[in-house]
């Protein structure tokens, strides 16, 4: 019991000790150190990838369950206990399904697009602070890195739309790109106001700036938090901002032509993005892994899932909005509000 507690509370120390031990072992063999570094990076990557996949599986299940609750039905309940293995089954189904490539698609780009969408989501995990010291790399430009890398996924979506050689897909991809670029602006502005308070781009510093619950930026930046949630929700193309893949209009938009494995990647990316947005919201506004009694890692997961639940709540509460309203909402409301928020924060930081 003590051991488990120790592992949970002092994960970073244990990892560091393990690294130092391996380092010593390695030096006794007189081998070049960069191989060890690469091995460690690979290990971390594997860990993150494993977390990502299982987490996605769980989120999908969770999403369906929550949806069912909102719609007063049971949801998946046949495979495994309360349908807990439903997503696993679905995944297996997707993996063994035939991969259909339409004749007129641009083969290379069509193949590349899912990875272009998924890889950025995966890369962002580099700076997600799962717990105290549990961050793959605490970059100097942490949050900027997040913004930059998430921006890359637009390329994949556009490519998917273009390569499908299908007007619905193309329109879906274009809509998605427009939407992501538009909502990036209020999001960046909100993040800037948070950065004004934290004074650093580093994830660790941002979390340290919210050392007590009263300093959580959600209380300092309530409007910022709401804006971030809206913009983040739009960034990951979820309802009510899921126009790019709107089934009723665009027959699922840029993923229309995708099936099987490639479709699985899109799916995976979507739920990974959902988790990511929530994780970043947690980091920026909810004090990250900080919290009493429970271990930091657990606190982080709890907070993130709270935000995820909130986003799902949104999904089932608001109807999908029209495309021109979507753009108007960003440019005419969110951006000005974010600007005012930023300026107010700046004045606050300067004079108080």
């Amino acid at each position: 019991m003590e051991l488990i507690k120790d592992i949970l509370y002092n994960t970073d120390k244990i990892l560091k000790d393990f690294y130092n031990w391996a380092y010593k072992l390695w030096s006794s063999f007189n081998l070049p150190f960069f191989i060890l570094d690469i091995v460690f990076y690979l290990l971390i990557t594997l860990a993150v990838a494993a977390f990502l996949v299982f987490n996605a599986l769980f989120i999908i299940y969770y999403d369906r369950k929550v949806a069912a609750k909102f719609q007063v039905r049971y949801g998946p309940n046949r495979v495994g206990y309360k349908g807990i293995l439903q997503t696993v089954a679905d995944t297996i189904k997707l993996l063994i399904k035939e991969d259909i490539n339409a004749d007129k698609v641009d083969k290379i780009v069509f193949f590349l697009a899912p990875f272009l969408v998924f890889i950025p989501s995966f890369l962002v995990f580099l700076v997600i602070p799962f717990g105290k010291g549990l961050i793959p790399a605490d970059l100097n430009i942490g949050i900027l890195y997040v913004l930059a890398i998430t921006g890359l996924s637009v390329l994949g979506i556009l490519s998917a739309g273009w390569a499908s050689n299908n007007k619905y897909s193309l329109i879906g991809g274009m809509r998605s790109a427009a939407q992501i670029i538009s909502y990036e602006i209020p999001m960046v502005l909100v993040i800037l106001s948070v950065l004004l308070l934290s004074g650093s781009l580093k994830m660790g510093d941002i979390i340290n700036a919210q050392s007590s619950i009263s300093k959580w930026f959600i209380f300092v930046q309530p409007i910022g938090f709401i804006l971030f949630l809206i913009a983040g929700n739009a960034e990951i193309n979820r309802a009510p901002f899921d126009l790019p893949e709107a089934e009723s209009e665009l027959v699922s938009g840029f993923i229309t032509e995708y099936s099987a494995m490639k479709f699985a990647f899109f799916f995976l990316a979507e739920y990974t993005n959902l988790f990511l947005t929530s994780a970043i919201a947690t980091t920026l506004f909810l004090g990250g892994w900080q919290g009493p009694f429970l271990p930091p890692f657990v606190w982080f997961i709890i907070k993130t899932y709270l935000v995820i639940t909130l986003l799902m709540w949104f999904r089932w509460t608001f109807p999908r909005i029209r495309v021109d309203h979507l753009m108007e909402f960003s440019w005419k409301y969110l951006t000005p509000i974010a600007f005012v928020n930023l300026i107010a924060t700046a004045i606050l930081v300067k004079f108080i």
Partner: protein
């Protein structure tokens, strides 16, 4: 050592993707190659310890410029180069000019005595410094740049927007 390896990886990536970008018959591929080039340039920035610039590079160039370019590509026809010529008649002189230029400038650079000018290498957090400089010493260029962006924004809207009468 490690950095040299990474430099060569990025350099080869940059050169190859740039060549493909320039020569690709399909303009959409060009755009993707451009994205790769820019991403590799960001890697070069990381090698140079300019993390902030690397972030900006990815954020603005790939996230905005390339996406915008792809947008315009999607809005125009003739992206496929199977029947249409993608290169004009001056390809061969341009190729010659390219090679001569590279050789000449490289020779000139090799002639220069750089070693005596190298002042050393420091690692430091340039982000805060950039911020300070931008809002102190460079505040006027900074504001000018913001005005420039605003003008570009309005100008682009003005150029592209259709008149109501024309509709």
């Amino acid at each position: 050592m490690t950095s040299l390896v990474f430099f060569y990886i990025f350099a080869v990536l940059i050169v190859i993707s740039a060549i493909f970008m320039v020569t690709s018959r399909n303009i959409y591929y060009s755009a993707l190659w451009l994205a790769l080039t820019l991403f590799a340039v960001a890697g070069i920035f990381v090698l140079l310890n300019a993390y902030f610039l690397a972030g900006i590079q990815v954020l603005i160039y790939i996230g905005a410029v390339v996406v915008l370019t792809i947008f315009v590509i999607n809005l125009t026809k003739e992206i496929e180069g199977k029947t249409e010529k993608q290169f004009n008649k001056q390809t061969i002189p341009a190729l010659l000019a390219l090679l001569t230029g590279i050789v000449l400038v490289v020779l000139a650079v090799l002639k220069t005595d750089w070693a005596s000018r190298i002042a050393g290498w420091t690692n430091y957090d340039e982000t805060a410094k950039i911020g300070n400089l931008l809002l102190n010493d460079f505040v006027i260029p900074f504001e000018a740049a913001s005005v420039l962006l605003l003008i570009a924004l309005i100008g682009a809207i003005a150029i592209v927007s259709l008149d109501k009468e024309n509709k």
